[in-house]
């Protein structure tokens, strides 16, 4: 029987099994010196419990694995929690058995400091589970009082669990892939009074390359935090203008309670935060698993040759395990503003802007010859816009206070509509969109030669992909790699490698006038002066504006600058300026086109010009399969090139 005991000396650890019984015998001598327990009577009982735990094989149990965040590592096991204080045994992060024995020992401790929580309270999830499995005798292992925990438990009063997904927002790069947090519902009916549990990296540094580096390689600590849900709603809905999706999980009150125990247990500990994989969304899954250990949510991502965890994919994992009961949609303030404005004619909108610009008093709206519904619309929209301007600091505090109260005072004379006057239709939930990785293959013709092509994209959404579940006009292509085999010269060539390619086309809509922008970096096969294609490193940045055309169309105009680098270029580089004009729109629900024209004039380095026009289209068969047909004609270095491709897309 190879059993390992915790907190033993180096010599003992070397001869683990051999010295086991000796170790057991001297445990009562050793343990006080390691500060684990005191009193021989309890140690006798400790030995019994440890023995019983071994007989029951508890260290191998799924629940123990979940509570300690153990994952297979090589032939052994390793915890993903990096904080050494999380473990009771010195080798607890790699040794389940040792950690279990040491955890049991810690429950006997009587030497904790006054302001310190007893291990029974700090590790309340472990304590609760071990107690269930082993049936602690209260006479021999007294229950330590856990005042802080009891107080927290009674205030949270967990009933159910919701997985919350604040969506991506155009123009907010930090929201690129969205985010997830957990909501613990209390006995209150109002969602606002529930509790939000968030996992985040604690970053003291400002943004920049250093920040990205540290984030990618785990230099930051990730921690859980707990806030009233209304604060998170305000943060996402009112300040960042992100719609929130709430996925209600079918965890029972008891399972919600167990999740809460684990949250409590995790509150003081950190794990190294990795932006790509061990991030906010991944770590939340442990909390759900702690509620119901039979769910293997984290295994969907860990050790799967998938080096990133995209928040919406964790929602899909929850979907796959059948724990999502229903989904609800919480529109942001910006969405509400657009919804109210939708039904107003331009006179009413003008009146609204006069109010928020301070050109007329809110009370004067009341005496206008309008229906009461119209007056309400003007004042309700003024209310939202006034708050919007205050949060975006376009309105000084003193001005805002007065204006806001004046508007509301006027509004308060107009009665209460029987039902929500501005109901917002729920769009397609993010988990219903196409999956985030894409593989495609096909072939085509590029002046002079036929070719076949394969392309793989790690993530996430292209403006030619169908938009359901995504934010229309937002493109994030991350790690998009394509190779072509050209028949005429019998060669495989790198066609394009887009490391990052972001486009944000956020339309002007009479209320907001956002900037549209794009940035892309990578390597691309370009036509150069010698009349042949060569790989060229390229950085392209642009900014401009977008207008909505119909319900799905976006017409955009972007000024841009383009930097190319290659030894094939004269002086090894070319720097140019120009612009792109385009229109993307759905022709039918399943057929999307993007037509654009681009002109770039390179005045520095290898001086030349490049004019191009293209038609891209994407026809959807199912959510995760579609056909792309693209045609492009360009004039570069005074030579024409035509590039036509047909490709099948699989999203997975």
């Amino acid at each position: 029987m190879a059993v390992i005991l915790p907190r033993l000396t180096g010599a003992c650890r070397t001869f683990r099994s051999a010295c086991l019984f000796v170790c057991l015998a001297v445990f009562s001598v050793l343990v006080p010196s390691t500060g684990a327990a005191s009193g021989t009577a309890s140690n006798g009982y400790l030995g019994e419990l440890q023995q019983l735990a071994r007989e029951k094989g508890l260290a191998a149990a799924r629940t123990w694995e979940v509570l300690l965040h153990y994952k297979p590592a090589g032939s052994g096991t390793m915890s993903l929690v990096d904080d050494p204080r999380f473990f009771n045994a010195p080798n607890g992060s790699t040794d389940r058995e040792a950690e279990l024995s040491a955890t049991l020992a810690s429950f006997f401790r009587t030497d904790e400091k006054e302001d310190e929580e007893h291990p029974q309270c700090r590790f309340i999830a472990r304590y609760t589970w071990l107690n269930e499995q082993l049936g602690f005798d209260p006479a021999r292992l007294p229950k330590a009082p856990c005042a802080k925990f009891d107080k927290a438990l009674s205030s949270v009063n967990p009933r159910s669990v919701v997985l919350v997904f604040p969506n991506t927002l155009l123009n907010l790069p930090s929201s690129m892939f969205g985010h997830t947090l957990l909501r613990i519902n209390t006995a209150y009916q109002s969602d606002l009074l529930s509790h939000a549990v968030n996992y985040a990296a604690i970053t003291g540094d400002s943004l920049g390359l250093f920040y990205v580096f540290k984030g990618i390689f785990g230099f930051y600590h990730g921690r859980f935090s707990n806030l009233p849900y209304y604060e998170k709603v305000q943060e996402y809905s009112d300040l960042e203008h992100r719609d929130i999706w709430e996925y209600h999980l079918n965890l029972t009150p008891d399972e919600a309670y167990r999740a809460f125990l684990h949250i409590w247990e995790m509150k003081e500990f950190y794990a190294n935060y990795y932006f790509f994989d061990q991030n906010c969304s991944f770590n939340l899954l442990f909390l759900i698993e702690a509620g119901r250990p039979s769910l293997r949510l984290t295994d969907e991502f860990y050790g799967k040759w998938r080096f990133w965890v995209i928040p919406v994919d964790t929602v899909r994992a929850a979907q796959k395990f059948g724990i999502i009961e229903r989904v609800s949609y919480r529109p942001s303030r910006a969405s509400k503003i657009l919804r109210i404005a939708e039904e107003m004619d331009s006179d009413l909108k003008d009146m609204t802007f006069e109010v928020v610009d301070g050109k007329r008093t809110p009370a004067s709206v009341l005496s206008e010859d309008l229906r009461v519904e119209e007056k309400r619309e003007v004042l309700d929209l003024s209310t939202e816009l006034s708050q919007y301007r205050a949060t975006t600091r376009k309105l000084e505090k003193a001005q805002y206070q007065k204006q806001f109260l004046d508007i509301l005072a006027a509004r308060s004379t107009l009665g209460i509509p029987a039902e929500d006057p501005y109901p917002i239709q729920t769009p397609t939930p993010p988990d219903q969109g196409h999956l985030s990785a894409r593989f495609r293959t096909g072939g085509g013709y590029r002046t002079g030669s036929w070719f076949t092509e394969i392309e793989w994209r790690a993530a996430y959404h292209d403006i030619t992909d169908l938009d359901e579940g995504y934010v229309r006009g937002a493109q994030i292509n991350f790690m998009d790699l394509s190779f072509r085999y050209y028949f005429d010269d019998d060669k495989v060539r790198l066609h394009r490698w887009r490391v990052i390619d972001i486009v944000s086309l956020s339309p002007w809509n009479g209320i907001f006038k956002p900037i549209s922008w794009k940035v892309s970096a990578g390597v691309e096969e370009l036509l150069l002066d010698d009349g042949r294609d060569h790989p060229v490193a390229r950085l392209n940045v642009g900014g401009g504006a977008t207008a909505g055309v119909g319900s799905t169309g976006r017409a955009y105009l972007l000024a841009e600058t383009d930097l190319q680098a290659s030894t094939r270029l004269e002086k090894d580089y070319a720097l140019g300026f120009g612009g792109t004009a385009g229109l993307m729109t759905n022709v039918t629900k399943d057929w999307k086109v993007n037509v654009w024209a681009q002109g770039l004039f390179y005045g520095a380095g290898d001086e030349h010009r490049s004019l191009a026009a293209a038609l891209q289209s994407n026809l959807r068969f199912t959510t995760n399969t579609s056909l792309s047909l693209d045609a492009k004609r360009e004039l570069t270095f005074d030579r024409y090139r035509t590039d036509i491709t047909a490709r099948m897309n699989w999203y997975y």
């Binding site: 009674s154 205030s155 209150y188 009074l193 935090s225 209304y230 604060e231 509150k267 206070q401």
Partner: protein, 158 residues
């Protein structure tokens, strides 16, 4: 509406004694009115995360940046209401949205507020109507003290 006022007051008083059901349970004191105050406050006051969050949330929502009421950071006690911490924190953090909902006579923030006051569902329509018609008596001026808002609410809902 004397009865409603009594209900509100009694409910508020009982909230104090049913402190267990409320955040941090410290209903007798007004410590921790700051917006960043968190549930686990007592346990991890010194941890980086909490400080970070407190700094952040106070920076964003604090009445020093915007918000229609003042007097929130020292949490002056309303006279007619027995204050409890959860209600205090809720009002501080949601005052602007609450004012909006009161003026419009409906909304999620108003529902949550009524629930905290334990106004029975069937009485809410009446309560909301009273608050709406009393709006200008509740929010008497820009920068009104939060404690007065609470007092005014109890007055108009009598």
């Amino acid at each position: 509406m004397k009865r409603l006022f009594i209900v509100v007051t009694v409910v508020a008083v009982s909230l104090v004694f049913v402190g267990a059901a409320f955040a941090a349970g410290q209903a007798h004191s007004n410590t921790g009115c700051g917006l960043g105050t968190m549930l686990f406050k007592g346990n991890a006051d010194n941890s980086v995360v909490l400080q970070t969050f407190q700094a952040t949330t106070n920076g964003i929502y604090g009445n020093q940046t915007f918000g229609i009421t003042t007097g929130t950071s020292d949490c002056a006690q309303p006279k007619n209401f027995v204050s409890n911490q959860q209600l205090n924190e809720f009002m501080v953090a949601n005052m602007d949205n609450l004012a909006r909902d009161i003026a419009q006579g409906r909304g999620e923030t108003l529902d949550a507020f009524a629930e905290l006051l334990q106004i029975p569902t069937e009485k809410r329509a009446e309560f909301y109507g009273q608050l709406q018609s009393g709006f200008s008596r509740i929010f008497t001026s820009p920068g009104v003290q939060m404690a007065s808002v609470m007092d005014n609410i109890s007055t108009v809902s009598k």
